[in-house]
Subunit: 219 residues, 2 copies
DNA sequence: ACCGTTATTGTACGATCGTTCAACAACAAA
DNA sequence: TTTGTTGTTGAACGATCGTACAATAACGGT
């Protein structure tokens, strides 16, 4: 019949998706908007346009904007840690090889990207005044620290240092700080140094920690 | 007369100030709002309320909000570099003493303050998408880098290392990255380490650079 | 083919945003 | 005391913000 034809011929105006799939899409859109527009991209309308949905849908899947942003932060953190962990797992068994894989993954795409780092900075800027983001930070950052500390612990054991005298805690803090600082600096001025040099700086730092410290000239 | 009394008795509704003084007050109010409310504090109404002036005044002294924020960033940068420079100038003549003064000033008030660091992070988050802030960054960051590089150059000279083989550029990048990273990490989780430990980490890094590297256990 | 569930839409609302501008008034100079 | 300059006010504008909500329609189950 004619009516039947009309119904069959018309494409659906939208596609229903499972909540978990739609949530994932909205989170991806949020991160994409952050990359493109920075903090200004964190608006309901910008994000929903990026995701190709209407303005009302976000509040159907998330209680409010802050929770969406926090979920995006959680996903962003998770992707980073998972990627680094995979890089380490794909490397050889020697501790220094595993550390090198970790550092090279840290300072190469997709992590070392000006847009990606700018996203981190925006998240950090939100941290102090957003409870949801603070909760995510506490829940996810420990995974990153555990990964770094594990790599350092392997190195210390290999170098046959007395574990007690080596301040593993401080070493992990220093290495993560150096990495974060290099990320930040490369983000602000990408021309100042090359990723390869960042890896080198980190390796020298770790070498000096282990007392193999050949010093600045030895490389 | 009554009229005369009335005129004399009434306090002025506002006080005219020289443009440079008012601009300075608006810049100070901007930074204060950033400390208190983060990125959300960067609104014309919040800032003008903090400064105790009307909403219209900002656009009389600054062409637009971005320029005010950029001016605040310039002032913030200048204060930091000036403070660090003064700390170095007040120290002894020995290069390692001067470096220590620099590091201790870096990791003590007013620089090492959770609010202050949060302000930095917000500025960094604006960097990618704000031309005025990019201009300020290029103009002022070199002063900071020059200061760090000068301190390192003194140390290298004292250690009698062949200047050519020492990569002063990379050393400065590494040290500033380490400092920035430690700032950032302390800002996100102030309880994880003490400022004293941050100074120690930086000094060990520099020592390893100069080939005096006693390693991680030597302290 | 119909129904029920619910993902999705899009308008509407009140709040707040940055900026403009005519009117006002503080203060120095005449 | 009067005048001129200009720093300052505050209402008004249009745009955009986050959220609420009734209406709509996609799609699996019967």
């Amino acid at each position: 019949m004619a009516v039947h034809q009309a119904v069959v011929g018309r494409r659906p105006r939208f596609e229903r998706q499972l909540p978990q799939a739609r949530r994932a899409a909205l989170i991806a859109a949020t991160i994409e908007c952050l990359k493109r527009y920075g903090h200004a991209g964190l608006s309901i309308r910008t994000i929903s346009a990026q995701a190709g949905v209407s303005v009302g849908l976000i509040n159907h899947h998330f209680p409010n904007k802050d929770e969406l942003v926090a979920a995006a932060y959680r996903h962003f953190n998770g992707e980073l840690v998972e990627g680094l962990r995979a890089a380490v797992a794909g490397a050889g068994a020697a501790p220094h090889e595993r550390l090198r894989a970790f550092l090279e993954a840290s300072f190469s795409p997709p992590n070392l990207d000006a847009d990606v780092l700018a996203v981190w900075v925006v998240f950090w800027g939100l941290y102090r005044h957003s409870r949801p983001i603070q909760r995510v930070q506490r829940a996810t950052y420990s995974g990153y620290v555990r990964l770094v500390r594990g790599l350092l612990a392997e190195l210390v054991q290999e170098a046959r240092l007395t574990p007690g005298r080596v301040e593993l805690r401080l070493a992990a803090i220093g290495l993560t700080s150096l990495i974060d600082g290099l990320w930040l600096e490369w983000c602000l001025e990408p021309g100042k140094f090359r990723p390869r040099e960042a890896v080198s700086l980190c390796e020298q730092w770790v070498a000096s920690l282990c007392g193999q410290g050949g010093g600045w000239n030895s490389r």
